[in-house]
Symmetry: C2
Subunit: 429 residues, 2 copies
């Protein structure tokens, strides 16, 4: 049985995602598509526009067969943490043959060459990188600049045919960056999973307007935020994804945006002492003072982010930091769930009949506990390991704070990580 | 110069309040009416519907001459803490001759007799009280029941003419209860301030509907909450109070209600560990577990309060407790600012020309630092005393969280306790 893994956010699922699922199946001849899905918060440091159970259903009704959760300790993380956690989880299922990821570049050989280069110690490049970091560039920009410089001077092995501009493109787009991290993580873990990339179709990742039927998720969220009218989205989402989104909106469980967390985050910042702020992952170097100052003048999350922004910190990094703060994700947590360490469990979100058949194999081969019903399956592991307990505690807290931002008060009950049933579907419609 | 003190919340100021101000001046022949006003949160454990600066202006334009702030450490407190803090502050001005308070009863002799009785140790009554408390009654109800029992059996000195029903009335109405506490506090501090009570006019304190032009503040807030239409209130508030309320609403700084704090409070409860909850004043005896449980199922503040309610805890006490939690007002704070200890400063909110003349005398006679400009006047005292620093810190935090609930994002800036100017008016219009 051929099994292909996909790492996704589906925030929300659009035609580009469906195309990716179809192509992944076609190109790898997969019998089963196994999807690892970000939970209620995403890598950009934003709440998902609709909760993880609804997005798992979107995936299962648009091509995926089995959906596991990418835990919040990896999902709301820099690219390396995100990719390492995800790759380790795919590996831990014991059944995945291929990892298919979308990239702006669309060709694996060159991405691999660059990943190999980045994985090796290379003093001249490291020194370039360090110089740019010292000049206050954020890490992604410093790395891009260092690579271009190096490529101009010495040429990166395997990329000899590329101009510096093309190298910049390779390292400068969000899906390429994640792809490079997947490739490095696969190499680091000595995984037998074979990587394959598919070019992204349609609008760019950052494209904010609904211009083509292949609109980006960003454009879809923007439309939802500004107009509040989901009917507008009918043309831009596969029917069963659109319908699920619509049902969630009508039930008062969506849509959620960054600014749904304004008072939770700013209130907390105003009342938290500096010493406690310093314990949060990513806070330090005086950032705790900037956070306090920015929270004083901010009336909205946008104000807060503007007040925090500097050359050194990207907006995405700051957003993740705000959620780390909200979840009380400390420096200690960051090191407990670092890219070097293994995840603690495999948490199932849903499946269709094809996925269900694969589950039997996963039960036999998985190297991590398989969690289908947390109250039953997780309890012994939580008792045995403080790290497992903490990983789950953070997941539950993230969900408990997420649901509190639901428009409908009756839907805000905590503990939904225990009470929400698995998403079981009849398969693709 | 005759100076009369008044302790008030004016949430918001209505015709009954204006009548009280006029009567206080007439009956005491006062040259100056000095008002001590609750800040942004009230004794019921609610946000004031409109901020303290606007309410100070309402007072100054409807009969008061000088307004000081009743600090949040006293304002959001049980009747004894509220009354003691207020009486000590009036005493500390060094200029107040009379304290005039409204009461349902309206006659001082009998209230005094009852206050004297409560101030004395009386074993049979104490034992009755203890029995009712052990049966799980909240303190006010247990005390009322104990007094009635005692009165039936032995007769309370000075109240011989009253039936048990009349005694119950004396101890069963909110303004009578506060009045009794004022009287006891005056006696305890050996104050020379003379108390005088005026019967409350018009609708009852708890009356929720706008039935008479002398509507209660509760009815006014209810109308504002339910209809959102301040125009409805024109007939029920003195013109200058109504106009100030209207201006605040139009500027996006009002109205605020308990449910404006839903996500601040429930989010914080969901993420705060039990051990930290236990440090909050009034939490203990397992209440920390009830708080966690209630926050899990609650989607609104109403849900939360329903989940917490028991025979032992009144709704008002629970509401105060939620705000103590939000402000991180600990058991240690409660003891630092207990009814036995003196306040740390006198904070001025505003004045008219008559009030300004009195300020000169207060500067000479006051036994506490007079604060007109906190950044200048408070700093040396904050440096000299941790208790003063903490009292002010709690005040500022309460305001910083209060303004965060303003409808208008631009108005939510923190630090308004430093930046808001004194309210200076030309006097009564």
């Amino acid at each position: 049985m051929q099994v292909t893994g996909i790492i996704a956010e589906y925030n929300p699922l659009h035609y580009g995602h469906r195309h990716h699922l179809q192509e992944a199946r076609r190109l790898t001849g997969a019998d089963v598509l196994l999807c690892l899905l970000s939970g209620n918060f995403t890598q950009r440091g934003e709440p998902a526009v609709v909760n993880k159970w609804a997005r798992a259903r979107m995936a299962l009704e648009n091509g995926a067969d089995l959906v596991f959760e990418l835990p919040v300790v990896y999902a709301v993380r820099h690219a390396q943490g995100f990719a390492s956690g995800a790759v380790k989880l795919l590996e831990a299922t014991g059944v995945v043959d291929y990892l298919v990821f979308g990239s702006e570049h669309g060709r694996c050989t060159e991405l691999k060459a660059l990943a190999d280069f980045l994985a090796r110690e290379n003093l001249p490049f490291r020194e370039r990188l360090k110089t740019y970091l010292e000049q206050g560039y954020p890490f992604p920009a410093a790395r891009a600049q260092g690579l271009i410089d190096y490529h101009k001077e010495k040429g990166i092995p395997g990329l000899e045919g590329l101009t510096p501009e093309e190298v910049k493109d390779l390292i400068g787009h969000p899906n390429n960056i994640l792809g490079l991290e997947y490739l490095q993580a696969l190499a680091r873990t000595g995984s037998t999973i074979r990587p394959l990339t598919i070019p992204r179709l349609g609008a760019g990742y950052h494209e904010e307007k609904l211009t083509t039927p292949l609109a980006s998720a960003t454009a879809i969220r923007r439309t939802l935020h500004e107009s509040g009218r989901h009917a507008l989205l009918r043309r831009f989402m596969p029917p069963r994804a659109w319908q699920i989104l619509r049902e969630e909106i009508e039930a008062g469980r969506a849509p959620l945006f960054l600014d749904s967390f304004t008072s939770q985050i700013i209130s907390l910042l105003r009342r938290t002492p500096l010493a406690e702020l310093r314990r949060i992952d990513g806070v330090g170097e005086g950032l705790e003072n900037r956070l306090k100052d920015a929270a004083r003048s901010a009336g909205t999350i946008e104000d807060l982010l503007s007040g925090l922004k500097t050359k050194r910190y990207t907006r995405t990094r700051l957003q993740r930091l705000l959620f780390h703060f909200l979840f009380n994700f400390t420096g200690e947590d960051a090191s407990d769930f670092s890219p070097q360490k293994d995840p603690c469990y495999l948490r199932l979100l849903g499946f269709n009949p094809r996925g269900q058949r694969l589950l039997k194999f996963i039960k036999k081969r998985a190297t991590l506990p398989l969690i289908t019903k947390p109250a039953r399956d997780l309890l012994p592991h939580i008792r045995a390991s403080g790290r497992t307990a903490r990983m789950w505690e953070l997941e539950c807290l993230a969900t408990d704070l997420y649901v509190l931002a639901y428009p409908c008060p009756q839907a805000r009950r905590a503990g939904q990580d225990y009470t929400q049933p698995l998403v079981i579907t009849a398969g693709e419609r």
